[in-house]
């Protein structure tokens, strides 16, 4: 699975421009699913199985898009000013590398600040692609880039940009492959534009109209020095989300996930995330409402170019979802 993860996280696919990731996912799953389509928002929707014996229509969602930057102005010397797409922090920018969807690579430089230890504001930053004039610059206003960093394999821990949320795309792909039999009609949605407002999941959920929704996304962890205070930690298993900044998971879905984990003998953690949300919120609000929850992969340094996950948590997430989706489900 590590090779699959590497391919996914290293692909360039910022919000609205997920084509490269979509092609990759499609090539991985096309022979494992019954039906595959791409909708108006660019979501890749794969259907597997049919409802039988009281089975449910279940929508699973992992987002293909990553945060990025979009060119707003090319100055006469070929330097590129930019705006952010999704939640980019200024402090992760200076000195970073980016790759545009059109292939152009560059780095983020900055103006001189008042004091050497001050963090640049976005207005003080620019992308240098090595061009020397506006006319010869291979980037134009509106071109979009993602952060550029190869994955490193530290054994149990993996580090890369876009673990949010390509790691979950990998989890869904492996889950899709691992499920041999299920009473449910399963829709695996590789969604778009999550980072700018859950836009892909909103329309996918409306179209699918599921009985149950589960998103798979990263969550923060509280296990780094003087970091956010949170019980979730790397290496303690998949996190079952109780709530986050935008969603209250349906308690029945939480109970279901806990029961599945315990029955399968898998470790798990309960998650309360203050701030941030996932596709599950959008699914929950579709039409007349959808009971929803989320399986989270604990992740350090989220929305930086070096996000870290624990490989065992990732594998156990696959196991948890496989177990949950393979058996009957009664929401009570």
């Amino acid at each position: 699975m590590k090779e699959l993860i590497r391919k996914l996280v290293e692909a360039v696919g910022p919000s609205g421009y997920e084509g490269a990731v979509r092609d990759l996912v499609r090539s991985e799953i096309s022979d494992s699913v019954g039906e595959l389509r791409v909708d108006a928002m660019g979501n890749l929707i794969a259907r597997k199985g049919q409802r039988q014996n009281g089975g449910l229509r279940i929508m699973l969602s992992a987002h293909m898009d990553e945060i990025g930057v979009m060119a707003t102005h090319i100055d006469e010397n070929g330097f590129v000013r930019f705006t952010t797409i999704g939640g980019v922090h200024p402090r992760t920018c200076f000195g970073g590398r980016v790759q545009f969807v059109n292939g152009t690579r560059g780095l983020i430089g900055g103006e001189r600040t008042d004091a050497p230890d001050k963090i640049h504001s976005f207005e003080q930053l620019f992308i240098d692609v090595g061009a020397s004039s506006r006319e010869t610059c291979p980037v134009k206003v509106g071109d979009i880039a993602a952060f550029d960093r190869p994955m490193i394999d530290l054994g149990d821990r993996l580090v890369s940009k876009a673990m949010d949320d390509r790691i979950a795309c990998a989890v869904l792909i492996e889950t899709l492959r691992a499920i041999k039999k299920s009473p449910h009609e399963l829709f695996f949605v590789f969604s778009t534009q999550e980072e700018v407002g859950l836009r892909g999941a909103t329309t996918a959920a409306y179209a699918i109209d599921p009985d149950l929704g589960i998103s798979v996304d990263v969550t923060l962890s509280g296990d780094t020095p003087k970091g956010v205070k949170m019980e979730v930690a790397l290496g303690k298993g998949p996190a079952i989300k109780v709530r986050d900044g935008g969603m209250l998971a349906d308690p029945r879905v939480v109970r279901l996930m806990v029961a599945s984990a315990e029955k399968a003998g898998l470790p798990y953690q309960l998650e309360v995330l203050e701030g941030g949300t996932t596709d599950a919120r959008a699914i929950q609000m579709a039409r007349a409402g959808v009971p929803s929850g989320c399986v989270s992969i604990p992740c350090r340094y989220v929305h930086s170019p070096s996000e870290m996950v624990d490989y065992r948590d990732v594998q156990q997430s696959v196991q948890l979802l496989t177990a949950l989706l393979s058996g009957p489900i009664a929401l009570e």
Binding site: G222, K229, M230, E231, V242, R243, G246, M247, L248, A249, D250, P251, V254, Q269, L270, E271, V272, E274, R281, Q284, M285, R287, A288, G289, V290, P291
Partner: protein, 355 residues
């Protein structure tokens, strides 16, 4: 007139935070079932109670929405037997230290919100009010037992019993919005002998305080021609600006602004004038901060109305409401529904469409 008080007090003693409304929903379901024809539960847990109108089908439908969820707290971790927590809905941390709460763990536990001594906190916080991040719930139990009984994600509700004050006022937590649930109950009671033309859906919505989840989804299932949100509004009180508050006990409020269809406002204000029911107009230049904000934009759009019950000290455990105003809200809704002709839908128009 005060018969609603026992039911209201019961509502205040049952938990039901945003996202975990089941206990209060059961109570409301028991109260509403004898008053309506059909009761069901939405996909997100809202309670839908249909009182059918009289007359041939298809009958027009209206929703009376009162959110049943409450604000409260949620456990985020346990440290030495003390429970760290975050909020569910908007909670001012300054009102918290010293409050009695109920921790809904493996069993219900009594607890008190405590603040550590200044000496164990960062220096900059000395003598200042501080964030929820630094507060704990102390249950009085030893760490080993707390570790068994309490988990991340367990909800914590306020435990103040309600207090009857002079002048027909009631003080307690979660009068936002159980006061409105009581008002809707009064309305359903008053409608018992009435043959009304419209189908009436009383909806106790979920998650108003966090996501407007109930307001955004119930109307999609019901598809009403009209939706009324009943919620508490700001009553005049110490520290609150006079221009944005309404007298306590002197009447309810009728909403006016982009979140309210002017034809429905007009119908309500004319009715209130006719039956001498005291009210103030509540001018809301932008949004109403109620379920009406969600309901108005569901599917093709729904004409909405907002009825307000003035309340002091909103989102504290000592909210104060006038029982008379609750009665007035219920009565006005019942009168409105009783008098509503089947073809009122044709009157829900914008002035310029009249030719």
């Amino acid at each position: 007139m005060t018969e609603i008080t026992p039911f209201l007090k019961e509502l205040l003693s049952v938990s039901g935070l945003s996202g975990t409304e089941e206990p209060v929903r059961r109570l409301i379901k028991d109260a509403w079932t004898p008053l309506v024809d059909e009761v069901s539960i939405s996909k997100l847990g809202s309670l839908h109670a249909l009182r059918k109108g009289h007359g041939p089908e298809p009958r027009p439908r209206l929703i009376l929405a009162a959110h049943m969820d409450a604000i409260g707290l949620m456990a985020t971790g346990v440290v030495d037997g003390l429970i760290r927590f975050t909020e569910v809905g908007g909670v001012d941390p300054r009102v918290l230290p010293g409050q009695f709460v109920t921790v809904h763990g493996r069993r219900d536990l009594t607890g008190v919100i405590v603040k550590p001594d200044d000496r164990s906190l960062p220096h900059r916080l000395r003598d200042k009010p501080f964030d929820m991040e630094y507060l704990y719930v102390d249950t009085g139990l030893l760490p080993a037992e707390v570790a068994e009984l309490v988990r991340v994600g367990d909800t914590i509700s306020f435990a103040q019993p309600p207090v009857e004050l002079t002048g027909g006022a009631l003080a307690g937590h979660t009068l936002d919005n159980r006061a409105s649930v009581a008002a809707v109950t009064i309305c359903l009671q008053e409608l018992q002998p009435v043959h009304h033309a419209w189908d009436v859906w009383a909806v106790a919505t979920v998650q108003e305080e966090e996501t407007l989840g109930g307001a955004l989804t119930s109307p999609f299932a019901i598809r009403p021609q009209l939706a009324i949100a009943i919620d508490v509004t700001f009553a005049r009180g110490p520290g609150s600006p006079e221009s944005r508050t309404y007298p306590l006990g002197k009447g309810i409020t009728l909403g006016f602004g982009p979140n309210v269809h002017p034809a429905i406002y007009k119908a309500f204000s004319e009715l209130a004038d006719r039956i001498d029911l005291p009210y103030s107009n509540e001018y809301m230049p932008r949004h109403s901060g109620t379920d009406a904000y969600g309901m108005q934009i569901v599917a093709e759009g729904i004409p909405t109305m907002v009825i307000g019950i003035p309340l002091r000290y909103m989102h504290t455990p000592v909210e104060v409401v006038s029982l008379k105003d609750i009665q007035r809200a219920g009565h006005l809704m019942a009168q409105f529904i009783s008098a509503l002709p089947a073809d009122f839908v044709n009157q829900i128009r914008w002035d310029e469409a009249n030719d």
